[in-house]
Subunit: 242 residues, 2 copies
């Protein structure tokens, strides 16, 4: 359900909470199939979200029930792609998501072989014929002209069970770069984020914003770079409004 | 369920997310009985949370399922008190909450008569014999010696469906005043907050912190005052650690 206090002033679910539902769906789906976060913790492995893209036709309205479907689209040794579809019980599709995950050794923080888990068990769960009709996205290109628009601290509540700033917090902080009045007249068409380096509580995050040339279809596109102390890049994000 | 990304570095549910579950329980419980937020919106009324106190023996661990029970303890013309008990399916009690609510006219922002709703329907739902063995709390006393320890902005994601900074965000921001290392060696025994005035997106919030004299039982007690632009008080909070 789109819980009331997870909805914005327009009574629609916040993008960050939708992102959290997708992360949960990914976790529950992989747990049910033997390669979830909880099991991986016992063998010193962890999934790391590398990219997430979400395109919504409409955000669920307050109190609306909806389902987040997820499936593995493909798996390679070091990356797997997992898609999402947000749908209600009558089959109405709200939108889609795409994500890319790596698996790391939690000690060395180095990428590890996904196929090493239970003899490549993930290969048994690849679904190739389910459509995810949104762009895969790619590297977010930014010039040196991006402007520093905000610097914020990170605190206890920003940090997840892995000791890093929670992926969802970056989504919220990027979307916080626009004020309420902007959201009164614009809707998010597509949100995309690539996670580059992990931040920890106490790191200060700087946000650099650059507006792209208007697209032929008139969408407003912005790119955001988030850096931690100094200029170590943590994330890059692209947001399209219409 | 204590969702994994709603848990802190120690894999225990964040207090803010527990607060959100309590707000949901209050909303669902009152909706089922004809005086919920959603109905009140149609008659230009709204519940406003005035005070919340939470005492936990233990915070639910990641992936643990738990229930939030709620009941109305008493109702007067302008205030009602609602309690909470957090319990698992085997009857293990994690802790309790107490809350005080007012009802306002959403146009005038003035308090209105709770008994005017459906001929005092709330009186049919008062439970007097269910125990809530935590202190009721009261006015948080602070001296002029409280120190300004942080000032933060408020943004799009901080604002709820009523257009005000979400009650849960204050809980998180207060608890963010202590760093991760503090939480490695201290646990929250009791969290208490009184909501005084509403803040809006764009308001800057200043946090004033004052440590109380150690109690005989050795608990560490802190009081926090949150003010918006200038020195208009928004909230007062008291946090006990042990």
């Amino acid at each position: 359900m789109a819980e009331p206090f997870h909805c914005d002033f327009s009574q629609r679910l916040f993008m960050g909470h939708l992102g959290n539902h997708m992360l949960n769906a990914a976790d529950f789906h992989s747990t049910d199939r033997g390669f979830g976060m909880r099991y991986l913790m016992t063998i010193q492995r962890s999934w790391v979200l590398s990219r997430l893209a979400i395109e919504m036709e409409e955000m669920p309205r307050m109190y609306t029930k909806f389902n987040v479907e997820t499936w593995v689209e493909s798996a390679m040794r070091y990356f797997t792609s997992r898609n999402f579809r947000v749908v209600d019980s009558e089959g109405k599709v709200y939108g889609y998501g795409r994500s890319i995950w790596a698996m790391i050794d939690t000690e060395s923080r180095q990428p590890t072989d996904i196929f090493a888990i239970d003899n490549g068990a993930i290969n048994n769960w690849i679904v190739q014929d389910k459509e995810c009709p949104i762009d895969k996205g790619g590297r977010v290109k930014m010039s040196d002209g991006a402007e520093l628009v905000r610097t914020i601290g990170t605190y206890y509540n920003d940090v997840d069970i892995n000791g890093h700033v929670n992926s969802v917090k970056y989504i919220e902080r990027v979307l916080d770069l626009w004020d309420i009045d902007w959201y009164r007249t614009h809707r998010i068409k597509r949100f995309e984020i690539a996670y580059v380096a992990e931040a920890h509580a106490g790191d200060r995050l700087s946000f650099y914003l650059e507006r792209q040339q208007p697209s032929p279809s008139g969408e407003l596109e912005f790119c955001v770079r988030i850096c931690k102390d100094g200029d170590t890049e943590c994330c890059r994000s692209k947001v399209q409004f219409f």
